[in-house]
């Protein structure tokens, strides 16, 4: 598998998780903003290919995703724990995709 194919596979896995459990659509990758205060989740994998996939988003986006996941309004969420836990859950789901596709 080429690196390009792997990138495509991982991007697809991220899309699948975000759409299925967070009801959110992605529009492709983007450059990281160096000054952005962000929450980051990453999953490492090893095997025929090794590396990691990370999802890095602003706190506001994390809050929005957490609200979507829990089926709540953003205003009703507690602060950091909800967002961070939501990302951990997302991390678990990403790990599933890495194993499932034999990477």
């Amino acid at each position: 598998m080429s690196d390009h194919d792997l990138d495509h596979l991982l991007a697809g896995a991220v899309d699948d998780v975000l759409e299925t459990m967070f009801f959110s659509e992605t529009f492709g990758s983007c450059e990281l903003e160096p000054d952005l205060t962000a929450i980051e989740a990453f999953v490492s994998f090893s095997g025929a290919k090794s590396g990691s996939v990370s999802v890095r988003i602003s706190e506001a986006s994390a809050r929005s995703l957490a609200a979507s996941f829990l089926g709540e309004s953003e205003g009703s969420l507690d602060d950091a724990p909800g967002s961070a836990s939501s990302l951990r859950t997302q991390q678990h789901a990403l790990r599933q995709h890495c194993y499932k596709d034999g990477v």
């Binding site: 009801f23 959110s24 659509e25 492709g28 979507s68 089926g71």
Partner: protein
């Protein structure tokens, strides 16, 4: 049978068992339908976009245009007519990717995601749905029975039945 037409960006509820709720030409738009078989309350909304504007503008827009306001609107309207949320049968149709939508912002897909997000938020799950794809759909819901039929521009018709997400065998529909 009386026809109650639900227009684009519109919604309504009926308790008239002899009526049929209809909405036409669902392209990227989504029709959400609710039916309470005991109270015989039926409702339909035809929304166009996933999210309503920021709250300060919300007073100026129709709630049925957007998924996040259309779905609670329909739910509350049905409950106000005597429906019980625990009895509600939920149908959804539409959300197609229309031919002239060449942007990366696939409105049909976004409307489908918004549907599922809103249903989850309000504690509802679709019992039957015919969403996505590329076909434009017209939808009819019989108020008394809660039966739902779909039709395409080519004339193909089928009933959307709960728990059966694929096309059902053709049955005689109560209109010509």
């Amino acid at each position: 049978m009386k026809e109650l037409v639900i227009g684009v960006g519109d919604g309504g509820v009926s308790r008239d068992a002899d009526s049929m709720l209809i909405t036409y030409a669902l392209g990227s738009c989504v029709a959400l339908m609710l039916h309470d078989p005991v109270a015989q309350v039926a409702g339909m909304v035809h929304y166009m976009l996933p999210e309503s504007p920021e709250s300060q503008e919300r007073g100026n827009v129709r709630p049925c245009k957007f998924a996040d306001t259309a779905i609670p609107f329909l739910l509350h309207a049905a409950l106000a007519q005597g429906a019980d949320k625990r009895r509600l049968i939920v149908f959804a149709a539409g959300g197609a990717q229309v031919m002239n939508d060449n942007s990366i912002f696939n409105i049909g897909k976004r409307n489908c995601l918004a549907l599922r997000k809103a249903l989850w938020k309000f504690g509802l799950v679709a019992h039957a749905e015919d969403i996505g794809g590329t076909v434009v759909r017209t939808v009819r819901m019989q108020v008394g029975t809660g039966r739902v039929w779909l039709q395409t521009p080519s004339g193909e018709r089928w009933e959307l039945s709960p728990r059966r997400l694929h096309a059902a065998p053709r049955e005689e529909s109560p209109w010509r």
